[in-house]
Symmetry: D2
Subunit: 414 residues, 4 copies
Amino acid sequence: MDRDALASRYRRVRARTLELCAPLTIEDQQVQAIADASPTKWHLAHTTWFFEELVLGELAFDPSFRTLFNSYYECFGRRVERARRGLASRPPLARVHEYRSDVDRRVARALETGALDPGALARLELGLHHEQQHQELILSDVLTVLAAQPEPPVYRARAAEPVREPARLAFHVFGGGIVRIGARDDGFAFDNERPRFDAMVRPFAIATRPIANADVLAFIADGGYREPRWWLADGWDTVVRESWRAPLYWRDDGTLYELGGVHAIDPAETACHLSYYEADAIARWLGARLPTELEWEIAAGGGDATRGHFADDGRLHPAPAPAPESSVLGGELAQLFGDVWEWTASSYAPYPGFRALPGALGEYNGKFMSGQQVLRGGSCLTPRGHVRATYRNFFPPPARWQMTGARIAKDGER
Amino acid sequence: MDRDALASRYRRVRARTLELCAPLTIEDQQVQAIADASPTKWHLAHTTWFFEELVLGELAFDPSFRTLFNSYYECFGRRVERARRGLASRPPLARVHEYRSDVDRRVARALETGALDPGALARLELGLHHEQQHQELILSDVLTVLAAQPEPPVYRARAAEPVREPARLAFHVFGGGIVRIGARDDGFAFDNERPRFDAMVRPFAIATRPIANADVLAFIADGGYREPRWWLADGWDTVVRESWRAPLYWRDDGTLYELGGVHAIDPAETACHLSYYEADAIARWLGARLPTELEWEIAAGGGDATRGHFADDGRLHPAPAPAPESSVLGGELAQLFGDVWEWTASSYAPYPGFRALPGALGEYNGKFMSGQQVLRGGSCLTPRGHVRATYRNFFPPPARWQMTGARIAKDGER
Amino acid sequence: MDRDALASRYRRVRARTLELCAPLTIEDQQVQAIADASPTKWHLAHTTWFFEELVLGELAFDPSFRTLFNSYYECFGRRVERARRGLASRPPLARVHEYRSDVDRRVARALETGALDPGALARLELGLHHEQQHQELILSDVLTVLAAQPEPPVYRARAAEPVREPARLAFHVFGGGIVRIGARDDGFAFDNERPRFDAMVRPFAIATRPIANADVLAFIADGGYREPRWWLADGWDTVVRESWRAPLYWRDDGTLYELGGVHAIDPAETACHLSYYEADAIARWLGARLPTELEWEIAAGGGDATRGHFADDGRLHPAPAPAPESSVLGGELAQLFGDVWEWTASSYAPYPGFRALPGALGEYNGKFMSGQQVLRGGSCLTPRGHVRATYRNFFPPPARWQMTGARIAKDGER
Amino acid sequence: MDRDALASRYRRVRARTLELCAPLTIEDQQVQAIADASPTKWHLAHTTWFFEELVLGELAFDPSFRTLFNSYYECFGRRVERARRGLASRPPLARVHEYRSDVDRRVARALETGALDPGALARLELGLHHEQQHQELILSDVLTVLAAQPEPPVYRARAAEPVREPARLAFHVFGGGIVRIGARDDGFAFDNERPRFDAMVRPFAIATRPIANADVLAFIADGGYREPRWWLADGWDTVVRESWRAPLYWRDDGTLYELGGVHAIDPAETACHLSYYEADAIARWLGARLPTELEWEIAAGGGDATRGHFADDGRLHPAPAPAPESSVLGGELAQLFGDVWEWTASSYAPYPGFRALPGALGEYNGKFMSGQQVLRGGSCLTPRGHVRATYRNFFPPPARWQMTGARIAKDGER
């Protein structure tokens, strides 16, 4: 990417982050409602610190920000414990905005003057992808804050839609064989998408749409949340311990809360805020299983990852599944990108021959390769253009506060 | 008190609360740093709710505030759990200020128009004392927030003072006998200060000044925090479990943090942020004990409770103890009021014949009469004029975030 | 007490402890079901260690027993954490029996040969009272073990009794005045019962029988466990957190479990396994309060503390309250000693002029004087002859596994 | 297997379990020292219940044993919570021995009379493998009990050995390609070893011996337990939270505790009681990684799984690594079977086309397929003959109380 294009993209991405905060009060941006989520203010500062530390290489604005706004890089020393981020009333939000402006000016100047070497430019590009990841986190984390209010407010209103049924579940069959997996060497990709490698995959069938609320409602109606046989052992323990009876943000009165406010649960809507345990249990109850990440990548192979329902569209909640008369019944794969991150049956592990990035960035991905499952495809909270067919997201099995759903699969004929 | 005087006092107390918030950012007023403390924004709203609910008798501004800003009155139904007050980003601070103005207008009008019956007027007076209690809590709770910042800021600067030694500990002897304890029937007092009753007290001696930092430093130097024999069993468990090695807010480098910033530990300064366990252990190490609340009240008997170092003075930290050449060596009792709340050996229990207030206010005091110790005398965070010789404050033995210290006592000659 | 009498009493007390274990399996004596309770094996060894350490003064059998079987004496150094006593499979029970025999032989020889000085003899007498305290703990702690079995066994069978109603609650009035409280200087008493002192007490009335199951059943029927207004704040928190709906060991089917097995809840039976919170709440619901320990001691003044229902009787569960036509309606005080320990409104604190015992025994009582309430009168698990009118037992307010009940009181006429 | 052979094998396996308990006291067999481990008494009963429930099909001895001794089969209803198994003092051990004898008689008779259909015979065979798994658990769980004693006793003494260095780490290279993985259809294997499938594997090199204490000592000496860069993020969190500084059972004085007693840490000994996190970190520090389970199975392919150091040998602790002059330097693979379970980089997941066993046995393996890592090869606590090259054991990454170690691997040349 040339420097002008990079400068322009930098401005767009950074401006977009601020747009996301416009509906929020200062107080909304301060609160940390659950230990896994971070305050908006922290996201605003952390993404900025990333550029200052890793691109500019000098903490000129306030050296204490290394301690305050480092997320998890052990190589930079002591930092504020994650669960205590919400306690940092200082610096106030206004000061964080000054910080963003200052770093933006310095990055712009560095780009103009050619002060950045190729390594720094690569880290700048990485920083933009990193900020896009945090744009999604801002939305999912703000949802935890707003949902914690006794009367959860509307973040962005959306028009009511007629409630309807989704198309029934249909499958598309793939033949298996030796396939090439992972990102090519050219173009941007995270380290965890490489190296590209060959794998042998057996024939499989994959659902032409993700699980919809109608499927979850049927699972609930059949006593799914009270019946251990559908669940992994760890999942069942969690169901009992946390008293799960429905996906996160579902309410007892047939409504759910999302950034658009409280709405009736629409059977047609793509199901979201499912943990891996729930996705796996519902798949088993449907007589199916979750796809491996290789199967998912094969299925998504030729697709256009910029098409789909992303955060740039007005609605910050998954789109409805295809209608009952839809082409998915003929085997067309719908909603692969956007709407919901789709849990896969694959634990998050290095690809054969994986090498972490050099230096501090070596901590970016590799050290999380235990205890997590891979998710694919992006969501309605993801910025359009951020994901690829090879993109690997990951969260622990019990996580539900992300925009997560699932698509089921089956073994194919041999 | 006539209505004009009450109206004038109402305006002064309410304005004072806002003055205390002036040095704080919006974010400072949102954060709840420990479960025992509340956000400033909550204090601002709760004290206002008290007037609206118990004086005006109508939640006209926003009925949901009963749930949000009720502290502990079970009789008003469901409320936000104490430890989750810091999660309420909504309503924002600006809306709470509107709430205060609205209620202030309605109270002023009600006073003008004579709409308040004697019961309501009595509850209005109680509400002012209640708001003064929360003025002290605002300061102690804000201290927990500011102290949680990686670089704790100055709330209100104070001039540096020469460091010196305190007067040595001297005692004043009281003869014992049958004494009258508790508040007279006239004048304002909380229900827990009544009824007045006769008690028999043995001769005792009480220290002419509270414990000073010099005493704590000597205790530490003698290994006091490592030696179980000075401690109550529950206290020693706490020392070990919480790794206590000094009073709260003391730092390893010989400084302490207070609302005036970080300062060298001054031996002459009255010791503060002591738990009951520490106060009791230091007393034992000094060959003494803590006074009972009856002894304390006898000792304070004739004193003027408006003289002393209170929050209206510039400094929000205890004053130094009397100087080495001071009159306390002759037996004069110094610093009985203001500076620090003094832990007593008395558990918080009803006086003989105690009757709780009628209605909702019955929950004001009586239900806390287990598991707490009585403290006496007010502190440098208390508004001047708020305390009396008969005033009974109470906190659980491990509490350290309040402005708490102690004065030692001994059995007298018989 | 002369040495022969002491030797004889030593043999009797020690033999009685072993008798209590006869119905138990080796495994029953190993298990620690709750952190507050200890395994029977530990009690057997600990009481023996007390004699070896504090009377014989030499750990000749196995020096490691100081670490294993010291209860809470910090002065003897490191010890096994209380909650981990049940993990000590070694030494096995058989070895603990050898230990008991060995120490018994050495104590007998020391008594015969006159090797014990007066201090050691006094500690021997204290050791016997100490062992009696542990006899009661063995029974209450074993009950926690047996109750934890899926099918709780019978420890000692008792005959079924006809179910009936208790006498209605009546009161006896005492006039108040200056009274003498505490144990005389002669005869055995624990340090916490001294020194004897004068106190001023107001007129009061005290119930002629303890709370019976009929009273608890009525409290439950009136929704007492769901209504916060009857409860202290800490009590209500406990009710909610622990989901209390009845006294400990009550079952949903109208039965309760005790050492005699599962029985129908008898309205006439004296209520037991009540926490302080429950005792206080039921008293308030009855329009009364708990007595102070001074009031209790006055009421029990002239009574014979060896009469009553103690553990030496066959039944290890409280006796029924007096019958409806009983003399308690005329004001006679029934069941003051034995049956249940009666919670008082007094927190456990030192008497005026209290001095702890010298040396290690200084840790016996004084260091527990915070966070506990005084109980009076002994119980059906206490050995007959162990208690006195001045005897002060103490437990924390939430404790329910002891044989605890209550007797209500009221202010008297002035 | 014919019925006589099965009967004979049944007798041998069942007798072996009792032999393992011979050195233990009744109390040792009652205690549960950590929530993950079970009391020996419970193992003795649970393995017996498995035969009674799943082979005989009738709970004739005591129907309550279904609740008491079911491990995790949800389909059989309510059961005692795992962490509370140590509280069950009833039934006593003697009764569990009667239960074993009773079931053994009934199984013997059923075999003699031909009362068992082929399905029951298959479940009988499974029951024997199941009991062998519990033989290993008895040893690892007893180790947690004995290690919890203030003076950990010797379970079975072993001769002291000269301390020496292990052979240096050498590697054997495998070429990769398409390989067949999993158990053949004939012969016994657990469901999780099937179906057999083809996989593509890249060239790799695998160490010719497992990690030895010498390697761990070097890691420690290099500050490995204090340096986050070697660790997975979850691993580092665990190191900090649990204060890990060495493998489990290592002591500060250069010794370790094992079933043979306390011994000097021998550098030559195969390292054991490593968590997955430690195995992974040490591998990374050694410039290597852990093998996948496919790589491990390829490497072990032609080996004889009955050769190696198993629990039938005298020593219940891993054997020393090959000596410095050993043939492993030439590439021979040593200690693949026995000594220590070797952690692999593979999370525990179903093989392609996996089908769980029918009925209750469907809960045997499949429901644990999340959050665990695969281990291979058996250990010195495993009965000889129990493992195969295709055998898949699994534990969560932080588990250390099992006999777990690791063998490192590297990518091969392409």
